[in-house]
């Protein structure tokens, strides 16, 4: 009896394990920063080369850090949603313009609007590596003390926002 049941039991265990595996996206890697301090960085501002954008700006209020580039299709896709967040003053958004050209990026903001409080220009991708960025767009939710609460890979939209971001923001006292 055991001889016939054992393979069946093994099969019954294996099926759900493999099914869970099927629902996961191998491109979505867990970020080692979640629950830890955001990486220290300082970049020259995209819009004003005399100004700096860096870690100190993130302290004091909950904010989003959005990694974008003009060559990134998903960034164009989410841009309207970021504009909405900015227009409704939902949360301050800081941009990291990753591996891009400054004129292209400035033209993008001029044509599509600028949802960012400030954008750092990371032309050589050095700061992107410090944030563990591997594919734009990536969006980090950072609390007032500079701790990373969440990271989203891929374009932001209302569905992702309501499902992943809004509950976390409310849990941590809301963005003001």
């Amino acid at each position: 009896m055991v001889r016939y049941l054992a393979p069946l039991i093994a099969f019954a265990i294996l099926v759900p394990v493999l099914m869970i595996g099927l629902t996961r996206d191998p491109r979505q890697l867990p970020s080692p920063f979640i629950g830890n301090a955001a990486p220290q960085f300082e970049l020259v501002s995209l819009t004003n080369p005399d100004e700096r954008v860096g870690s100190t700006d993130l302290i004091g209020q909950m904010s989003l850090v959005n990694v974008w580039a003009t060559w990134c299709v998903g960034c164009r896709e989410e841009h309207g949603f970021l504009m909405n967040l900015a227009r409704n003053k939902v949360i301050p958004i800081y941009g990291i313009n990753w591996r891009d050209s400054r004129p292209d990026a400035l033209r993008w903001l001029q044509q599509l609007g600028d949802p960012y409080v400030a954008t750092g220009f990371d032309g050589d991708g050095r700061v992107g590596i410090d944030w563990g960025v591997y594919g734009a767009p990536e969006t980090f939710l950072v609390d007032a003390r500079g701790t990373v609460l969440y990271k989203h890979l891929g374009p932001l939209n209302a569905v992702v926002w309501d499902r992943d971001f809004r509950p976390l923001i409310e849990k941590h006292g809301g963005a003001t």
């Binding site: 491109r27 890697l29 867990p30 992107g128 590596i129 563990g132």
Partner: protein, 136 residues
């Protein structure tokens, strides 16, 4: 015959022109050897089944540049791997370091091999016990 030779030469020429890592080699051959060994162990996160040695994605290029910089600064291999893991997680390494989180990865092959051996041994034992006539 000449055509074959020409084709062979063409392939050799083209393949070196397509070399992925276009950076300048280290002056110190020992450092160069370490560099090549390291980039062969690091996953390109953008193209997950390639190492950063094999990949021409710009992220792989950026990571190679950072590894060169760290080698120039005299960092040892562990510090370089730690740098990558702190930013991208153990997944960045083709041979993740043994720790609580990755233990299952290291133990699974041994356990599976052991399980297979037990099954095989039981089947063989049963067959050995059969009279010769019954086999086949």
């Amino acid at each position: 015959m000449k055509i074959i030779l020409a084709l062979a030469l063409l392939i050799v020429g083209v393949s070196s022109a397509l070399a992925i890592d276009t950076g300048k080699a280290f002056d110190d051959p020992e450092l160069q050897a370490r560099y090549e060994k390291i980039i062969d162990e690091v996953r390109c996160l953008k193209c997950q089944n390639q190492t950063i040695k094999d990949s021409n994605a710009f992220l792989a290029g950026d990571l190679r540049r950072e590894i060169r910089r760290m080698l120039d600064e005299g960092k040892d291999d562990d510090e370089i791997f730690e740098f990558l893991v702190a930013r991208y997680g153990e997944f960045a390494l083709y041979r993740p370091r043994a720790s609580g989180k990755t233990l299952i990865l290291w133990l699974a092959p041994v356990l599976l091999l052991f399980g297979g051996a037990v099954v095989l041994w039981r089947i063989l034992k049963r067959r050995m016990a059969m009279p010769i006539d019954d086999i086949g």
